[in-house]
């Protein structure tokens, strides 16, 4: 049978607020355990939650970013279950009425086609703490620093049909939340966590099959692999005439497989009800208008502007707008280079991209500043150095030997444009190679390249290649 895969994603984005969603504790990552947990976060008796306006504002920002309806009134509910990292025995979350309603995102696939993915809702909730399992005399240690960090749970429609689409969508969500400045998107630190629902149905069927949920996938690569594995697993079961169980699974990157989480002793019964400590959240038109007025340029807008203003091909524009930091960097390079947007794009994407990739660095950690890279590009465009020499200069810049001008000066890499100097080098090459001169003049035109190479070599690469070409031709042909 032909099977069709149906995928939906639930993405938890930790909002980049200073303080927690219901308390004034810091949300900073990586502090000593339980040093950022106050009585509210610890679920002590009698304490009460007070909502952080920053979290609501960020949720609204996201809603506007996906063209969603913003709920004028949304309600916080309690999701009741016992777990040591959940201090109150319930999680405060939006259930029936989320702050962000239906919206959508457009994704671009590798083959250049675009697709619109529906977003069912996005709601605010509080994060849980962390359990640490190592080295506590057989006990588990609980750190509640993370408890109460605001999360935006972004729920997609089951509109995705392949692992690649799912990854493209997840990446797009990450790009968007980063652009909006509402989440740092750091998957390693758990700032962005993905749950995937995967199911199979016979091709052409309208009905959904039973889905398995894979929890807490923490990289795009694992996301793709986890879905791929899950598709195979489910198809094998179905081909054998079995049925897929509705269950929660975990992806194990080491074994590259998904595994069923230990079946709980009872089915979860979360007993949601409206949190009586919190009143309905009202977001009025003025609030929305204020957020809208301060909305940054979004990825799709930026991409189109890059294509128009800088004359970049769509591919370049896509790559350069994949993150707000990269786009900002690129624009700073163009500014510093005083033009040459396409050349700047090439340098940012290939030369710099290669270095960052090799060193495992983010654009924000680039060893070469945008101003410095712009300076280098300027030296290419004003013909102080050739593109080839520029790569040598760039290497030195990466190694921390200073900006382009410093490196050029120190290494004496300035391009030779003095015609008499070039003529002298050419004369020496012609004199030293009478055989080749004869062959060339006998009709072997292709040798011109060989002569150029010899002259460039003699100049240590510094001669202006165009000039060399021109003068060589004059001398050989003349």
């Amino acid at each position: 049978m032909q099977w069709e895969t149906v995928i939906g994603l639930e993405i938890h984005a930790q909002l980049a607020t200073q303080s927690k969603i219901f308390s004034g504790s810091s949300t900073q990552f990586g502090s000593e355990p339980n040093t950022q947990a106050n009585p509210v976060d610890l679920g002590m008796p009698g304490v009460l939650p007070v909502l952080n306006e920053g979290a609501v504002e960020m949720a609204v920002r996201f809603g506007l970013g996906i063209d969603a309806a913003i709920a004028g009134r949304s309600v916080f509910a309690r999701k009741n279950y016992f777990y040591p990292d959940l201090p109150k025995g319930y999680q405060i979350s939006q259930y029936e009425i989320p702050v962000v309603g239906t919206g959508s995102l457009t994704i671009t696939l590798d083959d250049g086609t675009t697709q619109t993915v529906g977003i069912t809702r996005a709601h605010l909730e509080e994060d849980a703490g962390k359990s640490l399992h190592e080295d506590f005399h057989g006990m588990t240690g609980i750190d509640l620093n993370r408890a109460g960090t605001p999360l935006l749970e972004i729920v997609s429609e089951p509109d995705l049909r392949s692992p690649k689409e799912a990854v493209a969508y997840a990446k797009k969500v990450r790009t968007l939340v980063q652009y909006l400045g509402i989440c740092d998107g750091n998957m390693q630190e758990g700032s962005l966590r993905v749950d995937v629902n995967v199911s199979q149905r016979p091709a052409g069927s309208e009905q959904f099959g039973t889905r398995a949920e894979i929890k807490n996938v923490n990289s795009f690569r694992f996301l793709e692999k986890a879905i791929e594995f899950e598709i195979e697993r489910q198809r094998e079961i179905l081909e054998d005439g079995g049925t897929v169980m509705q269950e929660t699974r975990l992806y194990d990157p080491d074994a590259d497989e998904t595994r069923s989480m230990r079946t709980k002793e009872e089915a979860n019964d979360y007993r949601y009800f409206p949190d009586p400590d919190l009143l309905p959240v009202e977001v009025d038109e003025a609030f929305i208008a204020h957020v809208r007025a301060h909305l940054p340029e979004l990825p799709d807008e930026k991409k189109h502007r890059f294509m128009e203003a800088y004359g970049l091909p769509e591919y370049d524009a896509d790559v350069l707008t994949a993150s707000r930091e990269l786009a900002d960097y690129y624009e700073a390079v163009v500014g510093a280079a005083a033009g040459e947007p396409k050349l700047a794009a090439n340098w940012v994407m290939s030369e710099l991209g290669g270095v960052l990739n090799a060193q495992g660095l983010e654009i924000t950690e680039s060893p070469v500043s945008a101003a410095a890279l712009g300076g280098l590009i300027q030296r290419i465009s004003d013909e102080t150095i050739s593109g080839k020499i520029a790569k040598q200069v760039f290497e030195a810049m990466v190694a921390g030997e200073g900006d382009a001008d410093t490196v050029i000066e120190a290494k004496g890499l300035k391009q030779i444009t003095d015609t008499s100097e070039i003529e002298q080098m050419i004369d020496e090459v012609i004199d030293a190679n009478p055989g080749q001169v004869e062959q060339y003049r006998g009709g072997k035109d292709k040798l011109i390249g060989w002569f150029v190479g010899q002259v460039m070599k003699a100049s240590g690469g510094k001669a202006n290649p165009d000039q060399v070409n021109k003068v060589l031709k004059e001398k050989l042909d003349g």
Binding site: Q18, P33, L51, G138
Partner: protein, 95 residues
């Protein structure tokens, strides 16, 4: 509405309350009686009535996003049953 012993056990588990077999018997009777009292609500027709979750008709007040708390771990953990190196300890959790 009356509750069977099994239902009582199920609820007790959901609420994480240890109950002995003898207690289950008692709770089964008592809870059934309480539900009998509660079932008097059925005498009123509430079709179309808006549920009232809260006595207030106000909306949620919001606080500005600012860190107002400092580290007071030592103070808060003084009353904890089991801590080690700043962590609260529980019997090993199997994921």
């Amino acid at each position: 509405m009356s509750l069977s012993n099994d239902e009582v056990r199920k609820i007790a588990r959901l609420a994480r309350l240890a109950v002995t077999d003898a207690e289950v018997e008692t709770y089964s009777d008592e809870l059934s009686n309480i539900l009998g009292l509660v079932d008097r609500m059925d005498r009123v027709d509430t079709a179309g009535v808006t549920p009232m979750a809260h006595p207030q008709h106000a909306t949620q007040r919001m606080r500005p996003d600012a860190v107002t708390e400092t580290d007071q771990r030592e103070r808060y953990q003084k009353i904890a049953p089991a801590v080690d190196r700043g962590l609260y300890l529980v019997p090993r959790v199997v994921e």
